[in-house]
Symmetry: C2
Subunit: 184 residues, 2 copies
């Protein structure tokens, strides 16, 4: 009792490990960085912050901007310990993928030839689009340098690599089936 914080709380803790932030800023930071492999809603953040503070892993202080209330949280020494501990624990890290697109492809045999290929193209272009977005972020990241240090850059590269792999798999399949696809 007392302890036992879940994954969302550790994500919040991790973000505070990069620097003091308000709940609002944490939400923004997630949107700007890990959103492609983790999401968190506002309604999770504020309770998580309370939990973390109660456990002594973060400390918050009020820093209102004018008359607008604001509370900035910082990671504590024991919070840093808990974070490192969590990162180090080789607890099960299930790769959770929930993809309607792949499900549909799996069932695409129920479709006619052309409709099947249209579905394939939809899945392909979805990943292609994701690759484009990630490439833009990559440009900005390399320009900004420090903000995105090596590990965040790695997760970016991983996202790029596997969506590119999906595009390639679609193209290989289309070639096998003998359809023209992806003009690029």
């Amino acid at each position: 009792m007392g302890g036992e914080v879940g994954a969302p709380a550790y994500v919040v803790l991790g973000m505070l490990g990069l620097g003091p932030k308000s709940g609002y800023e944490i939400k923004r930071a997630v949107e700007l960085s890990i959103r492609f492999f983790w999401t968190i809603s506002q309604a999770q953040i504020y309770p998580a912050l309370e939990q973390l503070e109660a456990a002594g892993l973060v400390s918050g202080r009020d820093e209102p901007r004018g008359r607008r209330p604001r509370r900035i949280y910082s990671i504590t020494a024991s919070g840093r310990g808990a974070l490192e501990d969590w990162l180090g624990r080789d607890q099960s890290m299930p790769f959770e993928l929930r993809d309607i697109g792949m499900v549909k492809l799996f069932f695409a045999g129920a479709l006619g030839h052309d409709e099947g290929l249209a579905l394939l193209e939809a899945v392909r272009s979805r990943s292609e689009e994701r690759v484009r977005v990630l490439q833009v972020i990559e440009q900005e990241a390399r320009a900004a340098a420090d903000e995105w240090d090596t590990y965040p850059l790695l997760t970016l590269e991983m996202g790029l690599a596997f969506h590119q792999a999906m595009v390639d798999a679609c193209d290989a399949f289309a070639t096998r089936v003998g359809a023209s696809m992806g003009s690029r």
Copy 2:
């Protein structure tokens, strides 16, 4: 009113499109095929079957095995129509990835050099393991031939391709950082 079935129900419908099955068999079929990109629990399947039957998309008939009760569901003509319709709708197909491993990697800067590399290795070996499992399934699939027709095989290849891409990204990073990794 009546309609408006969700994704889980369509997954059940898709499985019945491959042949009549009991709820129990549907669960098993999911475990044997799409489990890497979709899961469904027993507690979802039986209500979904009721829903689908009420909507006239499947029809169930009792086929007890001895004294053990059993209900086999078959897709109806209008069920097949609804399935094709769903597969064809280019409704948003968000790629939902929820991966604690990548989250941890993102925050790995909080760790020392060695601990960071250990985490990297954990993520790498997780995907490598998945590649191994998928390769075994691929062998069986190519041997069994018909059961796994082209589209299911495609989703298999996609899984293989992107986990291999993750492994490669880990190796590339490890090389960049100048550590020896992945002896393969």
